[in-house]
Symmetry: C2
């Protein structure tokens, strides 16, 4: 049996989305929408052990989605994860933890599941935990994923924007995915459908950011602080919008730098989650 396995999962910024709950089957619940996967991500190391336990950046934490993945794989694994991404700020860290744990645990415990089966387990765990709806399938694909249907890989039909970009981001605070998703999502889902049809019509980087910004406004998710930073980027001829769901501004190229901010810098990630 392999003693240890590592997986890398890219971060994921959602630009816009529609929520699609399914009470009876979490693998069919999810979201449609589009986003950017990022070279900044989460590295997950799994060892056989007397867990389940999870350390994130050296601290013991509880992440329900990870517990559910380990439970589904009947694996009392010891999981250690490292990331430079901010937590609770719209980068899909919980989805990355769930997916990285699934990939690496399957290897260490020789569960002999396929990639789609592992993505389905991680997606279902994330949905049941209420911490995300679409990050896992996007992070499994990589690139700039367009989620055309909700659900796990059996149901979800993905496309992608064929592009690469430097990405800058600036996090102003935390925002609870659970709180937004457990509230009334009708307004945002209608706005998300309009944004999706725009990006399907014209799958380019600039139409993505434009549709994302319009979504953030129509869905009434913009905080005044986020709106002000986006305005500064636009005033400097840049392209920016808000990461869903976090109090985070992302910009293409040097948008935030040009506007006088000191952002984190990464790029879109050309590949999905991978064993290392």
């Amino acid at each position: 049996m392999t003693e240890e396995a590592r997986a890398f999962v890219p971060g994921h910024i959602t630009g816009f989305f529609s929520a699609h709950p399914d009470e009876s089957d979490p693998t069919k619940a999810g979201s449609t929408g589009a986003g950017l996967t990022l070279t900044d991500g989460v590295e997950v190391t799994v060892q056989q052990g007397n867990g389940p336990s999870l350390m994130l950046n050296g601290d013991a934490v509880e992440v329900e989605a990870v517990d559910r993945v380990l439970d589904a794989l009947s694996a009392p694994a010891v999981v250690a994860a490292e990331t430079d991404l901010p937590l609770g700020a719209g980068f899909g860290v919980s989805g990355a933890l769930a997916l990285g744990t699934a990939l690496a645990t399957n290897r260490v415990y020789r569960r002999r599941l396929s990639e789609n089966e592992l993505v389905t387990i991680a997606h279902g765990a994330e949905v049941q935990a209420g911490s995300g709806l679409g990050d896992v399938v996007a992070q499994a694909r990589g690139g700039l994923p367009i989620r055309l249907e909700p659900g796990g890989p059996q149901d979800n039909h993905l496309d992608g924007i064929p592009a690469r970009a430097r990405v800058e981001y600036l996090t102003l605070g935390e925002l609870s995915t659970e709180d937004v998703l457990s509230g009334d999502t009708e307004l945002l889902s209608e706005a998300g459908k309009r944004a999706l049809s725009r990006v399907v019509e014209e799958p380019t980087l600039s139409s993505f950011v434009h549709a994302s910004r319009r979504f953030a406004r129509e869905a009434e998710l913009l905080t005044p602080e986020v709106a002000a930073v986006i305005q500064d980027v636009l005033a400097a001829d840049g392209q920016a919008s808000m990461a869903m769901l976090g109090e985070t501004v992302f910009a293409l190229g040097t948008g935030l730098t040009d506007a006088g901010y000191d952002p984190s810098v990464c790029a879109t990630h050309p590949a999905g989650a991978m064993l290392k």
Copy 2:
């Protein structure tokens, strides 16, 4: 307009397959099966110009699948490609040329198509040219793709073996994909279905190589020279099979080296085709 764009497409070794012709719609024709995408691949550079024209490793060549892609995109592009992979030897070079041309041409000529649309064009071009049935969708996904359904991305349902490996290969000669595919494919397709159900049951590297070797024998595609090299690798406790379709032996890890050969060395590629 962007003056130039580059794309990298991984090579692809098919271990086993079943042919699924569709006379009326080339985007629905294709193959099921499984294979390995490779870090050795094809780099395609596209410029606006007075083409269509294609240079491969510095020589002017005609590749029907590339002509068809440029025709579908109404782009008189000048295409230059470089690869270390042997030609006509089962590495999906023609599929890589078609897919890389589609991705880079879409960017240079701002055709605003999505990833799936570009993969569909490249897949259809390859099928109509008769030079391949499943490489393009596998090369678009990366990793160790399992092709569960034939056809382009609208119809093809892909899964993957969650693994990475060092890959060695040795090419003994050329084998015409067109000749095999235009002959009677019933025997190989039946063998391919049996191999696929084995790998779906147990999606691991060793079950893949084992199913591939059995397929090569049952489909009666083994040449005596290829069979002898595979036998040498097995005798040295390695795992090897034949690349479909080429007079090429591939082995995992150090299989060919351990058997005393001097193979080319690469690894599985964790990502699909990408713009650079």
